[in-house]
């Protein structure tokens, strides 16, 4: 049972803290940066797969 629980605990405790930007200091305390980062624009998450490139010099 412990073999199953320990990885689950690690995923449950360590991963969320990484996601909210916690960083261990090496001491008993842990500093967390919970500042909200600006969201990536939706349009930037949907880059079409059919992209082509054009290059011009126009004076």
């Amino acid at each position: 049972m412990a073999r199953v629980l320990i990885p689950l605990l690690l995923v449950g405790l360590v991963l969320p803290s990484l996601l909210i930007g916690c960083s261990g200091t090496g001491n008993t305390e842990t500093e967390c940066d919970v500042t909200t980062k600006a969201a990536i624009p939706i349009i930037d998450t949907n880059v079409p797969p059919t992209m082509e490139t054009a290059t011009f010099a126009l004076g």
Partner: protein, 191 residues
């Protein structure tokens, strides 16, 4: 348009800069979705956006189509011939294979957007690194709108996708609706 960037191309000087351009020309590079806009339509904008019948002051200001495929080459030649027939004059635009593009300095990228500090600040918060700013479709599109391109109806459709705050949206709508002066006014481009 998916991405836009400005830089230098067409010469042999390695790692050119604005103040040490060598034999390169000022160049724009565009990534586009061919299912939304064709290369021919982009060429139409290219021919309409400048006057290629006059000898440029220097290679810095040359008119050049750098083709990335044989199809682009064919369309460039075809449309150049059409323009010459329409104008009844010889066009000096060179049509050459693309080889290398050097990004211009950060302060040249997204020039129009930089004239609207509130909007620029919003995108800089999302993309602190210029390389990420350049790779953003939202930034490319807002830069175009601020520059006086694009229609209000098009903007209204995609407003929620651009990542702007309520305040940023108000500023952009004002610019595009005509409440604020756009940075420049040039012929309208396809959306």
């Amino acid at each position: 348009m998916i991405h836009t960037r400005v830089g230098y191309a067409g010469g042999s000087t390695e790692n050119p800069t604005y103040y040490s351009l060598g034999d390169h020309s000022e160049t724009i590079q565009i990534d586009y979705d061919p299912t939304q806009i064709s290369y021919r339509q982009i060429l139409d904008v290219f021919w309409a956006s400048h006057n290629p019948i006059y000898e440029p002051w220097s290679r810095q200001y040359m008119s050049i189509v750098f083709y990335h495929s044989e199809e682009q080459k064919r369309l460039a030649i075809e449309t150049k011939e059409s323009e010459e027939a329409r104008l009844g004059k010889h066009i000096l635009t060179e049509i050459v294979p693309f080889s290398e593009f050097y990004l211009a300095e950060d302060y040249h990228q997204k020039y129009y957007l930089r004239q609207e500090p509130a909007l620029m600040a919003e995108f800089s918060a999302i993309y602190p690194a210029t390389e990420d700013l350049i790779a953003s479709t939202a930034v490319a599109r807002v830069n175009g709108y601020v520059g006086g391109y694009g229609k209000l109806a098009t903007l209204e459709k995609e407003l929620g996708l651009l990542g702007l705050s309520e305040a940023g949206i108000k500023i952009l709508l004002k610019i595009v609706a005509g409440g604020l002066e756009p940075v420049c006014t040039l012929p309208d481009t396809p959306s």
